[in-house]
C-alpha cells in the first residue's frame, strides 16, 4: 500500500514546528503504524535527511511508550489499541494520513512526535504507591481480597501510562490516568491505609502540572488503549470527597 503522510516536525522544545508532507510506498497492509514510520525513516536516512523521531518500546501494547494522534484520534482510529497495534490495513491506499504528537500544555514537545510525559511520573511520585516493605512473597491467603474488588483493581491497574486520555480530552485532563491509580490502590487492602493522603496529593500534583479539569465528556475512555472505564473517575471523586470531609 502507498500513503501520503502529513507529519509534525519540530527540532526541539523551543522550535515552533510545522507539518511536512511525505510519501511512503510498498507498505504491507499488516504493518503497524510504527513499522510504516520505520519504512519512511529508512527512506529518509538513505536520502540523508533527519528521520522522524517517535517514542516506542514494546510494540505490543504493554509499555505505554508509543502515542500519536493519527487522523485526529489518539492512537489512531479503533478502540482499545495503542499506536503500535494500529495496522495499516485499516487505512485506504493512497490516503493522506495526519500524524501529530499528543498536544497539551503539560506535555511539552521534545522532538517531532515525542513529548515529555514526566508530568505523569510526578503525579505517581506524589502518592501513587504504597509505602510498606514488600519483603518476600507472602502467603497467598494471608490478606484476602474479594473477587469483585480484585477484578476492578486489576482493570484499573492495566493503565500503561501512555497519556492518550490527556491527548483525547478537549480539556487535556489527566483524570482517567489519576483515577486508574487511585482506584487501583483504594480497592485493595494494602492501598487503603494511605488512601486519603494519596488522593489529595495526586490531585494537587495533577493541578500543579497544568492539566485541565474533567468535564465528563468521556473522550478518554473511548481512546484508552486499555479501555479504562470512567467509573474509576467517579471513584476518584468519591475518594476525594471522603478525604476532604473526614
Amino acid at each position: 500500500m502507498d500513503f501520503k503522510l502529513k507529519i509534525w516536525r519540530q527540532k526541539n522544545r523551543d522550535d515552533r514546528g510545522r507539518f511536512v508532507d511525505y510519501e511512503v510506498k510498498n507498505v504491507s497492509p499488516d504493518a503497524s503504524f510504527l513499522e510504516m514510520l520505520d519504512i519512511l525513516n529508512v527512506d529518509l536516512v538513505k536520502r540523508g535527511e533527519e528521520p522522524v523521531a517517535f517514542d516506542h518500546d514494546c510494540r505490543e501494547g504493554i509499555c505505554g511508550s508509543c502515542g500519536l494522534v493519527v487522523n485526529g484520534r489518539s492512537h489512531g482510529p479503533g478502540r482499545g489499541i495503542a499506536t503500535c497495534e494500529l495496522r495499516m490495513r485499516g487505512f485506504k491506499g493512497g490516503e493522506t494520513i495526519v500524524a501529530e504528537p499528543w498536544r497539551a500544555k503539560s506535555f511539552p514537545i521534545l522532538k517531532d512526535l515525542i513529548v515529555d510525559r514526566t508530568a505523569l511520573d510526578r503525579i505517581i511520585a506524589a502518592g501513587g504507591y504504597i509505602s510498606s516493605k514488600t519483603g518476600a512473597v507472602p502467603e497467598a491467603n494471608s490478606i484476602q481480597v474479594p473477587k469483585p474488588a480484585a477484578e476492578e483493581a486489576m482493570d484499573a491497574a492495566s493503565c500503561i501510562g501512555c497519556g492518550a486520555c490527556v491527548a483525547a480530552c478537549p480539556n487535556s485532563s489527566a483524570m482517567l490516568f489519576v483515577a486508574a491509580k487511585v482506584s487501583h490502590l483504594a480497592l485493595l487492602p494494602q492501598g487503603k491505609v494511605e488512601r486519603k493522603e494519596r488522593v489529595l496529593k495526586m490531585i494537587e500534583q495533577m493541578d500543579k502540572e497544568g492539566f485541565g479539569n474533567c468535564s465528563n465528556n468521556y473522550a478518554c475512555e473511548a481512546e484508552c488503549p486499555k479501555k479504562i472505564s470512567v467509573t474509576h473517575i467517579a471513584r476518584l471523586n468519591r475518594e476525594f470527597i471522603l478525604a476532604e470531609i473526614s
Binding site: 480539556n171 479539569n213 465528563n216 468521556y218 473511548a222 476518584l236 471523586n237 476525594f240 476532604e244
Partner: protein
C-alpha cells in the same frame, strides 16, 4: 475557611461546588414548574395568583430565594474558572481532532458554555419581566397571572422563551448526570436510575415550561 479555600483551589473541588449548586438549582426547577401548573387551572388565574402571592411574601421562601441566587452565582463562577483553565490547557491546537467520534453533542465544551450563557440570558429576561415588576413596582397594575398571560401572548417573547428552554434542555442533558459523576455517585449499577431521573429534568420539565407559552398563544 482554610480547608474551603484549599478545596476550592483544586480542580475537583470547584467541580464539586458546580455539581452541588447545579443539582440544587434543579430542585428549584421542580418547584417552579409545579407552581406554573396552576396557570392551567380554569379559574382566571385565582389559584396561581394566590400561590405567587404566598411565594413572594413568605419569609422562608424569600430566604431560599437568596440561597438560590448564591447557588446560581457559585455555579457560574466555578464553571467559568473551570472553563478558563481548560482553555489554557492546550495552547497549540490539533491539526485534525475528531472529538465528535468519541463524545456526545451536548458534552462538548463549546456547546456547554454557549448553552450556559444562553440560560443566563434567559434568566435575566425572565427576572426582568416577572420578578422585578412584582417585587419592586409599587403600583403593579396587574396580577401575576395577567403579567404571564400578557408576556406569552407576544409570539416573539414566547419564541425566545422556547429557544432558551431548548438550550436549558441541552445543558441539563449533560449537566444532570455529570453532577452525579463528579460527586462520585454514579456507578455502573445506578446508571439506569440516574439516566431515568435525568429524563425528567432534561425532557419533561423543559416541555412543561414550554407548555405555558403554547397555552397562552394558541388556547387563550
Amino acid at each position: 475557611m482554610n480547608k474551603f479555600t484549599a478545596l476550592y483551589r483544586s480542580s475537583v473541588g470547584k467541580k464539586i461546588i458546580m455539581s452541588l449548586s447545579g443539582l440544587f438549582l434543579c430542585t428549584f426547577l421542580v418547584v417552579h414548574v409545579v407552581i406554573n401548573l396552576f396557570l392551567f387551572k380554569q379559574d382566571g388565574g385565582e389559584t396561581y395568583n394566590r400561590y405567587s402571592e404566598f411565594m413572594s411574601s413568605n419569609p422562608f421562601i424569600r430566604t431560599i430565594e437568596i440561597v438560590l441566587f448564591a447557588g446560581l452565582i457559585a455555579h457560574v463562577i466555578s464553571g467559568t474558572l473551570v472553563w478558563l483553565k481548560n482553555r489554557a490547557s492546550r495552547p497549540v491546537a490539533y491539526e485534525m481532532y475528531q472529538l465528535k467520534d468519541n463524545t456526545t453533542f451536548t458534552s462538548r465544551t463549546p456547546m456547554l458554555t454557549a448553552s450556559a450563557s444562553l440560560v443566563g440570558f434567559f434568566l435575566v429576561i425572565h427576572l426582568r419581566t416577572f420578578w422585578v415588576p412584582n417585587r419592586f413596582w409599587e403600583t403593579a397594575p396587574q396580577s401575576n397571572y395577567d403579567l404571564v398571560a400578557a408576556a406569552f401572548s407576544d409570539p416573539v417573547y414566547s419564541l425566545f422563551y422556547i429557544v432558551a428552554l431548548v438550550f436549558l434542555a441541552f445543558h441539563l442533558r449533560h449537566g444532570f448526570q455529570s453532577g452525579f459523576q463528579t460527586l462520585g455517585l454514579s456507578d455502573k449499577q445506578y446508571k439506569w436510575l440516574i439516566d431515568s431521573v435525568a429524563v425528567i429534568f432534561w425532557l419533561f420539565i423543559p416541555l412543561m415550561f414550554a407548555a405555558m407559552p403554547a397555552y397562552f398563544l394558541w388556547f387563550k
